[in-house]
């Protein structure tokens, strides 16, 4: 099955890249961009087919490697 992982910065952690993107959008004439937070999207193809087992497995991967939980949150979507 597929596991789709979104890794995002925790609120309160400054995101200079998101800020730069926000400025660039404003410079391009896109008014009304109130904020940009940049993160990562990671797609995993895993052998496990049982979502009940896949969830904790992918959570463990996130905690150990995919996200740095000092500054990042992660969200997991399982498909298929």
């Amino acid at each position: 099955m597929k596991a789709k992982v979104h890794v995002t910065l925790k609120s309160g952690v400054l995101d200079p890249q998101g800020k730069a993107v926000s400025h660039a959008l404003t410079a391009l004439g896109f008014d009304g961009v109130l904020g940009v937070r940049q993160g990562k999207y990671i797609e995993l193809d895993i052998a496990e087919t049982d979502p009940v087992k896949a969830k904790p497995l992918v959570e463990d991967m996130c905690r150990k490697l995919l996200a740095n939980t000092v500054i990042e949150n992660f969200a997991i979507d399982l498909e298929g």
Binding site: V13, L14, P16, K64, L66, N68, V70, I71
Partner: protein
């Protein structure tokens, strides 16, 4: 003093570190490849600067889980001195050996220049050859040097005298203008609770030989040598 330098794919300051160590201690350190699980019996381990694994995912994230790092961690737990410089600092935070994380620089630019540091503590085997409050000049070369930790963690580092260096101006003031990368509280280097693991973004090994234009980095290696004299 027996030393080892860890070499990851993408390390580029490993030989600088080895040269500085040899110059000051008179002994060639052993170069240890990241894929090796066994570490030679040494007193000091340097985790060098560079771009291990191309900085994939996050700086230091992949290297932190390479086979050799489990041995480095075990050695540190036994009291072996571990010095992480630049990417080495990033690796040590990712490995959970030091608190916090090194984020993208505030201004998003790679910074490669000399900076001034204030020596915050001399109560460690890495910094004992400096004087407290001394201002030293050391080069930085990084894209991700913006030190971040929760306020409670920063408070703990300060209350336990574990901030080794801060970015400062020529007068030793830790101003925002003297902070090259946006690090919390101008922190440039920290110690673990046991004080045998140090991580710092600046490169003392790059200014340890007069030929390179300065020797302000040399006392770090002299201090380690003295600890084993």
């Amino acid at each position: 003093m027996k030393a080892a330098v860890i070499v990851f794919p993408g390390s580029n300051c490993d030989r600088d570190a080895a040269t500085a160590l040899e110059l000051i201690t008179g002994r060639k350190p052993q170069m240890v490849w990241h894929g090796d699980a066994a570490l030679p019996d040494v007193d000091v381990i340097v985790v060098p600067g560079g771009f291990s694994y191309g900085d994939y995912l996050r700086s230091g994230a992949m290297a932190a889980h390479s086979p050799i790092m489990a041995s480095v961690k075990a050695a540190a737990d036994k009291g072996v001195r571990v010095m992480g410089i630049c990417n080495g600092f990033q690796v040590l935070t990712e490995a959970g050996m030091l608190p916090g994380v090194l984020m993208r620089n505030r201004d998003l630019k790679f910074i490669c220049r000399d900076v001034l540091l204030r020596v915050e503590t001399t109560a460690s085997e890495f910094t004992s050859a400096y004087t407290k409050g001394q201002v030293i000049r050391i080069p930085v070369a990084h894209h991700d040097g913006n030190y971040f930790a929760e306020p409670a963690v920063l408070d703990e580092l300060e209350s336990q005298d574990r901030v080794a260096f801060r970015y400062c101006d020529a007068a030793g003031a830790t101003t925002e203008a003297a902070n090259p990368n946006g690090s919390q509280r101008n922190i440039a280097g920290i110690l673990n609770a046991r004080r045998n693991v140090l991580g710092m973004m600046p490169h003392p090994e790059r200014l340890a030989d007069p030929l390179l234009g300065g020797t302000d980095g040399a006392p770090m290696f002299t201090a380690l040598l003295n600890a084993f004299a």
